[in-house]
Amino acid sequence: MSGDLTRSTLGSMSYDPAPESAGVARLKSEYGLFIDGAFSDPSSHQPFLTLNPATEEPLSSVSLASSADVERAVVSARHAYDKIWSKTTGAERSKYLFRIARLIQERAREFAVVETLDNGKPIRESRDVDVPLAAAHFFYYAGWADKLDHAGFGPNPKPLGVAGQIIPWNFPLLMAAWKLAPALAAGNTCVLKPAETTPLSALLLAEILQQAELPPGVVNIVTGDGSTGSALVDHPGVDKIAFTGSTEVGRLIQQRVAPSRKHLTLELGGKGANIVFEDAPIDEMIEGIIDGIFFNQGHVCCAGSRLLVQESVADEVLRRLIRRVDQLRVGDPMDKNTDVGAINSAAQLARIKELTAYGEQEGATRYTSSCALPDKGYWFAPTVFADVAQSHRVAREEIFGPVLSVLTFRTPEEAVAKANNSNYGLACGVWSEKGSRTLWVAERLRAGVIWANTYNKFDPTSPFGGVRESGFGREGGRHGLEAYLNV
């Protein structure tokens, strides 16, 4: 009897499919631009398709905003700022933000499905992380809107005006929330430009803004590609540019914005070091390494893509890590049991393949999960490189995929030196049961975010942002208000 049962699907770790229903998304076949409180056609008809990266099938047709459309959006935002939003009290702004937060919660399932279809991330993550956190950000900043006098920036701090906000494809809804919530709380109006490959959840958010009866023009959403973002960055009517994305594009934006009076915050790439000492709580640490690099397929700017492990436990950590990597369930993002979903785009997949090929050429030992990958769609099996040296490209460049580089160290000093030996400075993790050592290391790491005995944990009350080539400015917490106040 028991023999039969252990041969069941449960015993072999292959749970029967448990798919979320795609119909919940109720996607439209085409979307216009959200300008002045309503969806409208773009000035010239240049639609582009947004694909489901797990199947390569088109989900919907989206408008490409030209510079004329960006102009219209900025004019609308300026008008809304001058005539409405700058005259709206903090308590009133707060009311709208609370409404938006509640509406996101009410339509959480729909958001989760849209996000997973458009982005390729597992439904478990969009359902349990992206959407609840997006709502939490609106709730959090709703609370600040009428308390700006007490935020530590002096009495009656003023908003900047019109904010142009350009967000990436890795957390489309969450990044929209990170950008919009503090900007609106502080009294700015916004023109938001979602990423080219993941515009749908922002367009669903536009519906929510209508539902919340947010005054027209306070938030405008212009979909498009790099040219749309470029038009927004260059528009003279914009007072502030907030960008999250690659360091390469961030550098261009900073150059373009430099001769203007525009305020700028940049949240760019990273090569996060996850530092493991020999006394770390081993099981939770293994989970933390997994979460650090395979969460969201590694499409996380603060991903713990470099594992620095103390030499005395390196073999054991690697053995346990690889056993765990083999357990990751890779496949249909809509399946509720999927751990690792699809790579967001063909271009990103090509980049991951290119960089991992260097890893092998440069002599790192490659271990790739034996998981089966679907035939269609963009997939990359979870991969670990052992025996990586500081000089290897896989230790220096941001791969932005499910690829971990493992390096070793002997002393805390060496760990700090290796962790800091990077152009980036976004996030690090420290794993140890010894609090004094954790603090000693944390003090010396050059990174905006340092996690102790955890990784990739986000909370609206906690500021997030980088140093050096990871950008500047903070999002989240009281600090996040500063990016949208003239202080």
């Binding site: 028991s2 069941s8 449960l10 015993g11 770790m13 029967d16 790739t368 034996s370």
Partner: protein, 330 residues
């Protein structure tokens, strides 16, 4: 995609590397035992709870769910541990354990019936030669507050009355005050008088409080020869929890890797419905691995759980729920 052979691991399907010969750590003094326990990795409580909560979101559907329900039924130690227990109630439990759903022979039997020592003989006579084992709590259950001689006598009597499995409690007072050697000695002494009977060692995790303690107590029990480590008596306010089970499953996995001996885990107390039971099975599957997905290696100490499993089983087959009265109360 090329995959270089890894120098570190040659794994079986669970990824567990079994030593060719048993390498049980030698513990000859309390000092050595303390050093061994201190050498165990700590447990980060936040991380362990987060991991358990994440595993609890697994969704078992269709054939997986059916197989899991049947597996859970076969893992139930149908338990009655009340002062008011009667031979009649035990008869009813035994009958139910052998044939949980009288209308359906395809329902597997439960693993065991668990009673106080004085009812072992009666349970034995009802169960006869069936596959259902007689388990008995012993060693001054549930508090364990008696002398070692009394505890050993308790065990001997239960075994001679026909118990196949003994559920002992550890001396939590000794453990918490640091007399870990005494805890180990007691487990070894009880194991010895158990003879052929399987020994389950109850840690009473609700009284150990921290996950670090749970991990250390698990190792003491395993070093002492436990065939199973068990969470709780069911008699204190905090019984089995998912993160506690996770920590214990990590312990049996690690112990198996270093000694080659696979120790079972029994969760007891507060597991009342199918949803909870399936969550435990997922944690077993994804922590210790499929080698533990058998009644020989994982058990539920429960009473009302069985009826819920039967009800959900019928729901899967018929598509509708039946009335709770469809199944016997005991």
């Amino acid at each position: 995609m090329s995959t270089a052979p890894l120098r570190l691991v040659s794994t079986d399907e669970r990824g567990v590397q079994l030593p060719t010969e048993s390498a049980l750590p030698s513990v000859e003094s309390e000092c050595q035992l303390k050093a061994l326990l201190k050498g165990l990795s700590g447990v980060d409580a936040v991380g362990a709870e987060a991991r358990a909560a994440k595993l609890a979101t697994r969704s078992l559907k269709k054939s997986t769910k059916l197989a899991a329900i049947d597996l859970a039924i076969s893992m139930v130690d149908l338990t009655t541990l009340e002062g008011a227990d009667t031979p009649g109630r035990v008869t009813s439990l035994c009958t139910k354990a052998m044939r949980p759903d009288p209308s359906d022979a395809s329902v597997p039997s439960a693993a065991a019936v668990c009673v106080y020592p004085d009812l072992v003989a009666h349970a034995r006579s009802v169960l006869g030669n069936s596959s259902v084992a007689v388990a008995s709590v012993a060693t001054a259950f549930p508090s364990g507050r008696a002398s070692l001689n009394v505890k050993l006598l308790d065990v001997k009597e239960a075994v001679s009355a026909g118990a196949d499995e003994i559920d002992m409690v550890i001396d939590r007072g000794a453990f918490l005050s640091g007399r870990v050697g005494q805890v180990l000695d007691e487990v070894m002494a009880v194991k010895e008088v158990c003879g052929d009977a399987h020994l389950k060692v109850i840690l009473e995790t609700g009284e150990l409080v921290t996950y670090d303690n749970v991990r250390r107590a698990s190792w003491i029990a395993m070093l002492g020869g436990a065939d199973f480590i068990k969470t709780s008596t069911g008699k204190v306010s905090v019984n089995a929890t998912l993160p506690t089970a996770l920590v214990m499953l990590e312990a049996v996995r690690d112990f198996g890797e270093s000694t080659g001996r696979l120790v079972g885990v029994k969760v007891a107390g507060g597991i009342r419905n199918t949803k909870d039971a399936l969550r435990y099975l997922v944690v077993v599957n994804e922590t210790a691995g499929s080698a533990w997905l058998t009644p020989n290696k994982f058990r539920f100490g429960a009473s009302s759980l069985l009826n819920d499993l039967l009800m959900q089983r019928l729901k899967q087959h018929r598509g509708v729920y039946v009335r709770p009265d469809e199944f016997s109360g005991d």
